[in-house]
């Protein structure tokens, strides 16, 4: 019971802190002080108290979408082990459910964007869908490689110790997976160099422009959902890289916090040092990520999962 509560607590409370850390890192690089670390929390709370404005062209899809997407993302979170803590729900094959839940979240947002009938949202929806196609394959491939290496189809088993010997034996392949996964992470969470979360120009947005019409509580849900999604991807990346586990729960959790903050700083550094790519180069980037994971996959197949 204790463990369950810890898991849920981390899952619900921690994610906006990630966004705040990224903001602080970027401010540091820009020589500013920047918004406070807890700013996303304040934003979400503020938005929860505002009323929503709905366009007359929209119908129930538009109203339902933010709730559905948040629910989907949080459900995906329940499947994911964090900080060496077992998730509340786990079964063989839950990694497929995980990916599909995230896809569902994206799907309903896209639908809502199309529902508004505005050309900006439509444009963002089409871009998001295109990149989603390429990135989902890569995510699946990467997870397949990890599943082959740890010989199980359950997320908790993969990330809770299944990979401990893999770095020593198939280190290079794991490096391929990590690089590929990082690229996909940047795409799925709409970070620079794919999408600038702070741009004001709608024509250059991908994710932001889809949610232009949401307001109030809906926007709060979407913002929070974005944070949780980033948190989940970050957890996967970090668990892939840091595979050691001490047996003590609290020590593991502290380590996890530091790793996640490190991850947020990494994202911040990447965002501050790179410029946005032209849109036709983004598919190129995704394609490279795909090729990396294919390469790793082939090596694993040839070698056999038992190196």
């Amino acid at each position: 019971m204790n463990v369950l509560l810890l898991h849920l607590a981390i899952l619900f409370v921690f994610p906006p802190l990630l966004l705040g850390s990224i903001g602080k890192t970027k401010a540091f690089f820009a020589g500013r002080i920047g918004p406070p670390l807890l700013q996303p929390y304040y934003d979400i709370l503020k938005l929860m108290q505002k009323a929503s404005v709905y366009s007359v062209t929209t119908n129930w899809i538009f109203r339902a979408a933010p709730m559905v997407s948040l629910a989907a993302v949080v459900s995906a979170g329940i499947l994911m082990p964090v900080a060496g803590v077992k998730p509340p729900v786990q079964f063989g094959g839950d990694l497929i459910l995980f990916v599909y839940l995230l896809a569902l979240a994206r799907f309903v947002i896209v639908l809502a964007a199309l529902d508004t009938g505005s050309s900006f949202e439509g444009m963002g929806a089409s871009r998001e869908a295109t990149f989603g196609c390429l990135s989902e394959i890569t995510v699946f491939l990467n997870l397949t490689i990890l599943a082959l290496l740890s010989r199980s189809l359950s997320l908790s088993e993969i990330f809770l110790g299944g990979l401990s010997s893999s770095w020593l034996q198939v280190g290079p392949v794991l490096i391929l997976v990590v690089v590929s996964f990082f690229l996909v992470l940047l795409v799925e969470n709409s970070r620079i160099p794919i999408d600038d979360p702070e741009t004001h120009l709608e024509l250059t947005m991908i994710h932001e422009v889809m949610v232009l019409d949401h307001s109030g509580v809906d926007l709060a849900y979407i913002l929070y959902g974005k944070a949780v999604k980033l948190f989940l991807f970050g957890t996967m990346l970090v668990s892939m890289m840091m595979t050691f586990r001490t047996q003590d729960l609290w020590v593991d959790t502290i380590f996890f916090f530091f790793e996640m903050i490190g991850f947020a700083i990494l994202i911040g550094v990447v965002e501050s040092t790179m410029a946005r790519l032209r849109l036709n180069k983004v598919s190129f980037l995704l394609f490279s990520a795909f090729i990396f994971s294919i390469f790793g996959f082939i090596v694993i197949l040839v070698r056999g999962a038992h190196p």
């Binding site: 020593l168 391929l176 190129f284 090729i291 294919i294 390469f295 090596v299 197949l301 040839v302």
Partner: protein
């Protein structure tokens, strides 16, 4: 050490992918130099148990010749070129990348069918070498600028060298050195001819070399 050799091989192939996907000449030359450098370390890792002097020598020669001198020379050859980008290749960067992916898969398939007589320390050596060879070919065939074709030829030779590492113990040193030297002279000659092309045609598009046709 097995893992290090694997890392070198995978890194080599990835760098090859970078070269194939890039259209900027300066980038291609630099990555080629890096790839040759890393490739030069491969013999050291492969024969870590029974190291001999000539293996170290071969590694050193490859690193210096192909990793440093060759890129410098290539940069010299394009010093007068203002447009450092292959703007209209015959096969675009995306397609080449896709074909390279297919090539990598194909070489692994082929290599799994071939049985090598002696045990090799890494089972991805042969497929990596085949992949590099095919990537070199794709560059040779798909690009129009003369220097891109030279880079493709050098990637091809890198792939062949990777295969030759397997035979380092058996083949005499003479032939290895001779081949490296030939390569050096070949690139020298190519560079000189490129200079002539540049002088005469004022750019380096081999797509303009079509006056001799039937």
């Amino acid at each position: 050490m097995n893992v290090w050799l694997d890392a070198i091989l995978i890194l080599t192939v990835i760098l090859g992918l970078f070269i194939v996907a890039s259209t900027r000449l300066g980038t291609m030359i630099q990555i080629l130099g890096l790839q040759s450098l890393i490739l030069g370390c491969a013999p050291l890792f492969m024969y870590a148990q029974d190291m001999e002097l000539y293996i170290v020598l071969v590694s050193l020669v490859v690193i210096v010749l192909r990793g440093f001198i060759m890129p410098q020379f290539l940069f010299w050859a394009i010093r007068h070129v203002s447009l450092r980008s292959d703007v209209s290749p015959l096969i675009g960067a995306g397609t080449t990348l896709l074909l390279s992916g297919v090539a990598i898969a194909g070489s692994f398939l082929l290599a799994s069918k071939l049985h090598f007589p002696v045990k090799i320390s890494s089972d991805i050596l042969i497929p990596s070498s085949f992949s590099l060879i095919i990537m070199g070919f794709l560059l040779l065939v798909g690009r129009t600028k003369a220097i891109s074709q030279v880079i493709g030829y050098l990637v091809l030779e890198n792939g062949i060298f990777l295969f030759a590492i397997l035979l380092l113990k058996k083949m005499p040193l003479l032939v290895e050195m001779g081949i490296l030297l030939d390569l050096f002279v070949a690139v020298l000659v190519m560079g000189i001819v490129i200079n002539h092309i540049n002088d005469e045609f004022k750019n380096m598009d081999t797509i303009q070399l079509t006056t001799l046709k039937d």
